[in-house]
Amino acid sequence: MISPDDREPLQAYLDGELSETEAAALELRLRSEPALADALVLLSREEAILGEWAGSARANQEHEAEAATLPMSGAASVRRFTIRRLIAIAASGVAALVAVGFLSLLFLGGGHNEPSSTLATVEEMHGDVFIVSENGKSIAAQLGQRIAPGNGIRTQGDGSFVVLTFPSDQSRLEIGPDTTIRLDNAVTPGERGKQVWLEQGTVAADVSKQPSNQPMIVTTPHAEARFLETKSSFASAGSETRIEQLKGQMQLTRKRDGRSIDVPTGSYAVASARDDFAPQPLPNQVLQPRAAAKDQTSPMLSAAYSMDGATLVTGHGDGTIKLWDAAGSEVRRTLKGHKRPVKALAFSPAGGLLASASDDRFVKLWDPVNGTDVGTLKGLKGGIDAIAFSPDGTQLATGGGFAKATPEVRLFDVVSRQEIGSFQGEHTNHVTAVAFSRDGKTLATGGKDNVIKLWDVFTRLVRHTLDGHTNRIVSLAYSPDGQTLASASRDRTVQLWEPDTGKNRRILKGAFGDVRSIAFALDSKRLAVADNNVTLYDVTTGREQASFKGNRQPLAVVLFAPGGKELTTIGTDRTIRFWDAMARPPVVGPASSRP
């Protein structure tokens, strides 16, 4: 971010308030100091956003004031607003092209509105939730707020969700994070149902009490579903929509070819560009954790189990580390030593050391039994996002970065606490994940540059570059048998790789939230993938074996407890949940992934 000393002259420069001499001196610095140029661009971008926001807010106010004086009503006035808004936007630049989008919205929302009526009300909400009026104005939602036909709902950010109820029949919509929907009355003449346009994100619909002849129709970019007396969930992102049918039956039509299928209870279907469009059995759903523990003091960002499984350790945003008993019923000890968030934790393979890495640029080593600080690994230039012990416990690798986009991967000798090498010249942005191969000869690193590098630990040269993700890598894990490397990315896929050749073996899709953590089971056959929920995949077939639901806020970490029978999730809602990982797989089920 921008240094406070530089901010004022840069702002004055943008505002044209510097003298010619001052401006020339600053420009000289801008040519030779990349960080200062970065700061100017960032500040300029801030000005751009504020200007756009303020202009849009003013245009809306003017249109509203004008509308109040016009003798129009209902849809006509809404159309007039929208057309005027289009004209206003057209003046700002790229608008001619954008007009198509707004005209689409006008079409979708127009012609049948009853602005004075209430379609739904906000029953429950969390995080940033906005009501979007037909003229595009967003206002923060409030509990109990009425949603008129034609209005949209937008949730924004981790943990944001909103529950809407329809007073007419007690139908419910649970709208997940980063979701945009628009509601309206049914558009088909003679029908009295409800229409939901899901632009992106996740929605769970319970219309089990809906009267007959009043179906709910959910339209996504890829599919349209008509259903009555059902419970369903929809997730739409990128190129596909997934529909899970929990109760009742629905008719699902794929938009690209108009093909319709019936999706029965206990099934799911995916509408996408792929050919397979058929209901598939849902994996076993685990809706309740066996136990849960809350820690309200500070968000939990990282976690690890001791080798004997007796201790669960969590790293927190306030720099503390907490040692819990395995059941999560009590915090046995709190370790204080870091000044910034603890982003990564790892136990040495023999269990004698706990390593913690923080944004404060230090890796600390602790005696996990008595909580003593037994050393600090120093010399890192930036915050640390990831650490890994070598399988023999003698080395520790760190991944992170400094400045704007400078990667930093270093290797330390655990006994001497000294740095013994670094891995340079390959990544072009911060490194966010590191993992040692089973034999300790290879270090896998993944970063914000979207690629994974497999390094020879001895020569520190790259053996393979794995280039298959389209967004930053967030987690890497070798299977315990060493046969598979799994990578999770912000592109919402998990990919499986052959560690020796770097060949991509399989892409696991189906995540509709940000995947933040993955963990292999001890048998190497199952991989837990955490986004807002946890999905357990069969690594060999790519089939979903089970899903662990019930989290409304995203998960930060998923772990298998030693022994492999229990799955532990650390939520951004500051809750630790313990799940039975031995959930039964479904009897039949095709691969939900593709090679």
């Binding site: 100017l40 756009e52 807010a57 003013r58 906005f130 923060a140 704007k404």
Partner: protein, 177 residues
Amino acid sequence: MAERMLGQGQVARLLMHHRTALYGYIFACVRNHADAEDILQNVSVAVTESIGQLQDEKGFLPWAREIARRRVLAYRRQTRREQPLDPELVLRLAEASDRVEREFAAADHRAALLACLEALPVRSRQLIAMRYDGSVAGMGELAVRFGRTVQGIYAQVKRIKTVLRECVERRMSLEMQ
């Protein structure tokens, strides 16, 4: 191939998605909103006309930024402004824009800042809106409207922007977890 891959709707979507990044770069170069709007409009037209040159959607922003860089230099030449722009500085700012985008995408910046604006107290929001919506001639008029001294209004705007910046940093820090 690109022409087949990227239709007008996609071009519009890409332009909208990267509008903040492009405008931020252009404004950093010309430091004048009217000029920046004009140049962005020129860039939008040029991008739409020459989209066939783009090989891959992933390369859209660097490609569009390069068009913007040339348009910035051309615009200043055409309009014969009193202060010519230094091509090297325009290039350095393009490189900076690329670095900043890699580190902190404009779309994320925009989303975070808009959310933070929503969370401001009403009066602070009004002040920032009037500061940026072009409805007042300058800080002097803004001071009169809000019953403050000019220095006081400067300080107030600065405080609110600090609050917004901290809010954005907090949100991005959570996002990075």
